[in-house]
């Protein structure tokens, strides 16, 4: 019995290693491919960016399929409202795990996101994230950059928690998403990410995956416009605060609702 558990663990670690290795390799290849393509004058920058983002999307989709194939994760998507939403919106999501962004990119063909410096500087992912027109989150002008992209009709993903949800599962939002939304009066597309059991949290090892794999469920909700939830005639700092607490309690409600349904179905 002990033996079997150990073999299963070894299998899991090796398959996870293969997945992450392929992820890095894929990112590197896409990055280099478009670098090599870049001297070609006949591809306009906008279509180039579309092509790169499309490749990222397909790459992420392939990655999660491989992970599912090895039994490392399971997932279901219910994201029609996001695909139909008018462009120029902010996609927000709670952030339970390491691969949330990969899951979201797998269901979004053209989406901008923020990139932390470790990914921006990495030899594997650096080239592709730069060419995809993503926003480095330590840049001085993060907000104006994001605002310009939203106004140009791009959708931008942000995790308002700023980091992965802690062990206690309590949702605490920072004001960044609200700052962006208020700056350009952008609508907000909320996506609820469920992850049972919790896995790949902050501080967890990448290979430390529960047996059978965590089950992810992504559900996109109705688009929220600012007029729906706050008084847009107030001074902006008040709007930032009201919108942040509105969204925070929105997510708390959503997550309580799904955990109640899960408890019921387990009974």
């Amino acid at each position: 019995m002990m033996q079997l558990t150990r073999i299963r663990k070894a299998w899991q670690i090796s398959t996870a290693a293969i997945c992450y290795f392929l992820f890095g390799l894929g990112a590197l290849i896409v990055g280099i491919f478009f670098r090599l393509l870049s001297p070609l004058p006949f591809i306009p920058p906008a279509s180039r960016q579309r092509m790169i983002r499309w490749s990222v999307h397909k790459g992420c989709l392939t990655f999660i399929r491989i992970m599912r194939f090895f039994g490392l994760i399971r997932y279901t998507f219910d994201v029609d409202s996001m695909k139909q939403a008018r462009p120029g919106h902010i996609v927000i999501a709670n952030h339970p795990s390491l691969i949330d962004v990969v899951l979201l990119l797998a269901v979004n063909e053209q989406m901008c996101c923020f990139v932390k410096s470790a990914v921006w500087e990495s030899i594997f992912t650096g080239a592709v994230v730069r060419q995809a027109g993503y926003i480095p989150n330590n840049a001085e002008q993060v907000l104006p950059m994001a605002a310009a992209k939203l106004e140009a009709g791009e959708n931008i993903l942000i995790f308002p928690e700023g980091t992965r949800t802690k062990e206690d599962n309590v949702i605490r939002f920072k004001r960044g998403a609200a700052n962006m939304a208020v700056a350009v009066n952008a609508a907000i597309m909320p996506v609820v990410i469920e992850c049972h059991p919790r896995a790949l949290k902050k501080g967890d090892k990448w290979y430390d995956i529960p047996p059978g794999g965590p089950e992810f469920k992504l559900t996109s909700k109705n688009l929220i416009t600012l007029e729906d939830c706050i008084d847009t005639s107030l001074p902006r700092p008040k709007q930032y605060r009201q919108l942040t607490s509105y969204l925070e309690s929105y997510y708390k409600r959503q997550l309580i609702a799904v955990s109640d349904t899960n408890t019921l179905s387990e009974k």
Partner: protein
């Protein structure tokens, strides 16, 4: 603190209470903008615009860069209003 600075402090306090939903008692000279009052760099931009309007002083972001506490805000405004 002289009367002029007292007046500026009162004005700053009013602005902050209005913009950030703070209690007037929280806005004391030694309060730190970020740590104590939860005013971040984005808020600071809005604060700057508002202070410019209410005090009629020509504030620039550069002058606001070194500001950490309410006392610093008052000092910058006092200095600028003397020049003006």
């Amino acid at each position: 603190m002289n009367t002029e600075k007292e007046n500026i402090l009162t004005q700053v306090r009013e602005t902050l209470v209005e913009l950030f939903d703070l209690e007037p008692s929280e806005v004391v000279p030694e309060a730190k903008l970020y740590e104590d009052l939860d005013i971040d760099s984005i808020d600071a931009v809005d604060l700057l615009i508002d202070l410019k309007k209410s005090t009629n002083v020509d504030l620039t972001p550069a002058q606001f860069k070194q500001v950490r506490t309410i006392q610093d805000v008052v000092d910058v405004l006092a200095e600028l209003s003397v020049k003006a």
